[in-house]
């Protein structure tokens, strides 16, 4: 994740309006799939929309593409109201999970399709198609048919096809879901590199894969039940989720029920079971949730820590995952691979840095 920060930050243009949703509501029959959705994506920004199935993320993308007509609200691209425009007139490139390459056309013809539809001269179509194929590293496959390509190659061609028309906005609708884990990681890095080469391109990336979202996006929007639950800078949203749902959906989170005792030296003092712990922020008193990511917990750290019983230990190659029980609360801890992992049934202490532990409302 961190590896992407450099080029990602450098690539971000943020020089104007990219995409705008203003109070967009989409209904299928009587069922509201997206309700009063308002979100702006800056030009040159990569925004990931994540959420569980049926949360409305694909509907939002389809409303932007012109395949779902809002019953209320406005959709804008580069400041232009496109709510009533046909998909063909919106100037968007789109990549979907099924690749949707045209099976009877060779790769170069697939990539040139949008150029032909826009009346670009034949010689230029070919040159631009090959340039886009080169951009995604598959220029050698120009004369192949889609069925002669692997899934990863097909997805690269789909990206080249979407980019060939030089769109203002690139929509990615779960584009890597059908790929195996290794190729998916490579494709995420590829999109990051492409964006670094085209920093003005605004990307809306719909995914159910939080890792993909965190790896690629400058900002993340979390949808729940057709509504925007939370939105913010990826790192900030991960480190300080505003709601319990956001904390649990974006990465794994331990949500420890605590009682806020007060504030001391800028840190909130909370009681968890019998332990008094320090946490980030959180003025006021009363019952709250302490959010600690599994990798933020340190095994055998007594400072700012609590006792827990080891319930299970799983070796995962590079890491160890520990299932712990503290009082009535199950706690998950992830650490780099341990030389001598604790045995199930033994008691351990686990601690954390207060800066890594924000307080949430229990809602």
């Amino acid at each position: 994740m961190d590896g992407m920060d450099g080029p990602r930050a450098a690539a971000r243009a943020e020089t104007g309006a990219g995409i705008g949703f203003a109070g967009v509501t989409v209904a299928y029959g009587g069922a509201v799939a997206l309700a009063d959705f308002t979100l702006d994506v800056r030009r040159g920004e990569i925004l990931a929309l994540i959420g569980p199935s049926g949360s409305g993320k694909t509907t939002a993308l389809r409303a932007l593409a012109g395949f779902a007509l809002p019953v209320a609200g406005r959709v804008t691209i580069a400041g232009r109201d496109v709510t009533g425009l046909a998909p063909a007139a919106r100037g968007i490139g789109m990549v979907v999970q099924s690749y949707a390459l045209f099976p009877h056309m060779r790769v170069a013809e697939n990539v040139a399709f949008g150029l032909a539809a826009r009346g670009v001269a034949k010689a230029e179509q070919r040159a631009r198609a090959l340039a886009c194929l080169r951009l995604v590293g598959v220029e050698g496959l120009a004369e192949r048919l889609p069925r002669q390509l692997s899934g990863g190659q097909q997805q690269r061609v789909a990206i080249a096809r979407a980019l060939a028309i030089r769109p203002e906005v690139l929509l990615l609708d779960e584009p890597f879901s059908a790929l195996d884990a290794q190729i998916r990681r490579a494709m995420v890095e590829e999109v990051g590199r492409l964006h670094a080469a085209m920093p003005e391109l605004t990307i809306l990336h719909v995914t159910h894969d939080q890792t993909e979202a965190l790896s690629l996006a400058h900002r993340i929007g979390i949808l729940r039940g057709g509504r925007l639950e939370a939105a913010g800078e990826s790192r900030a949203l991960y480190q300080t989720p505003p709601t319990r749902f956001a904390a649990e959906f974006l990465g794994r989170a331990n949500l420890l029920p605590v009682e806020v005792l007060g504030v001391e030296n800028g840190a909130a003092m909370v009681r968890f079971g019998t332990a008094v712990l320090r946490a980030r922020g959180g003025a006021g008193r009363g019952r709250r949730l302490l959010c600690v990511r599994p990798h933020a917990l340190r095994l055998h750290q007594a400072e700012n820590g609590f006792a827990a019983r080891v319930d299970g230990v799983r070796w995962q190659g590079e890491t160890h995952a520990l299932d712990l029980v503290a009082g009535d609360t199950r706690v998950h801890l992830t650490s780099s691979a341990l030389r001598e992992p604790p045995r199930p049934g033994t008691m351990v202490t686990v601690g954390f840095d207060p800066a890594d532990a924000p307080l949430l409302d229990d809602a």
Binding site: A65, G66, F67, A86, P87, A88, A89, R90, I92, G93, M94, V96, S98, A100, L101, F102, P103, H104, F113, G114, A117, R118, L145, R147, Q148, A158, R161, A162, I165, L171
Partner: protein
């Protein structure tokens, strides 16, 4: 080690009996047409006549026109049913399918009731125009035959076409649209190439059936429209000229088998393309 099941031991005699029955009742009478046709120089005598050549020409033009009509109508209906669905589209599609189950002469009869000299349309027009002569007489020409054959055989193209349309990933159409393609380019560039095998298969079948169509022509009795199947009937039943009837039948069978071979070749070619 396994042994394959070889039946109760009846073996060859059990197979030979039905095979002989088939030979005696079907293959032998069919085979008889060849020597009857070829004996006495009937082909040379028949094929050189103007009535045979006119029948061959009528057969080909009616079959080609009806097939073209079937393909165009099926394409239009298929596009509407598959991509512009309307309330009741499924019901209409199934109703069109039921035409397959109807005997061809029944459709001809229905057209007679509707467009015939004393049909509903002509009676209305005669009342409107204050005339005693039926204004619409196309039903008793080759155009009437073509229209009826289009009605009868369109489902044979429509059904495989709808199946092919159902196989098209809707995302492909959306991608094409988002890339800037209008409806016509999408139909021409994405939908038609995907449906081509179904269109060719349905069209070839349609051509084969229309070449051999007898019931519609016999029922309508279109003036001067004699096709090869009608000619066989005329020569055999009305003129008792069996050698001439068999010669025409031989030509009809040759035409049908050629079309069938073409149909198979097209399918093989498409299958080979799909396997590349």
């Amino acid at each position: 080690m396994t042994r394959s099941w070889r039946g109760p031991g009846l073996g060859a005699p059990a197979l030979a009996l039905p095979a002989l029955g088939l030979l005696a009742s079907v293959v032998y009478p069919l085979a008889l047409t060849a020597p009857t046709a070829l004996g006495g120089g009937a082909p040379g005598r028949v094929f050189a006549t103007s009535w045979f050549q006119a029948a061959a020409l009528h057969t080909a033009t009616i079959a080609l026109a009806a097939t073209t009509g079937c393909i165009l109508l099926a394409l239009m209906l298929g596009l509407v049913f598959a991509f512009l669905p309307f309330p009741g589209a499924g019901l209409v599609s199934r109703a069109i399918d039921t035409v397959i189950a109807l005997p061809t002469f029944l459709v001809a009869l229905a057209f007679t009731f509707f467009y015939g000299s004393a049909g509903v349309v002509n009676e209305a027009l005669m009342a409107l125009l204050h005339t005693d002569i039926a204004p619409l007489a196309f039903l008793y020409t080759k155009w009437g035959v073509i229209m009826i054959e289009i009605t009868v055989y369109t489902p044979f193209v429509l059904r495989p076409l709808l199946a092919a349309f159902a196989q098209i990933d809707p995302a492909q159409l959306e991608m094409a649209s988002s890339l800037g393609a209008g409806p016509w380019r999408i139909v021409r560039g994405i939908i038609l190439p995907a449906a081509l095998p179904a269109l060719l298969a349905g069209g070839s079948l349609c051509l084969l059936l229309t070449v051999n169509e007898f019931g519609v022509l016999f029922f309508i009795g279109a003036r001067g429209v004699i096709t090869l199947p009608l000619l066989i009937y005329d020569k055999a039943i009305q003129e008792f000229d069996y050698p001439a009837a068999c010669a025409v039948a031989l030509a009809n069978v040759a035409l049908s088998l050629s079309l069938f071979a073409l149909y198979r070749a097209v399918l093989r070619r498409l299958a080979a393309d799909a396997d590349v």
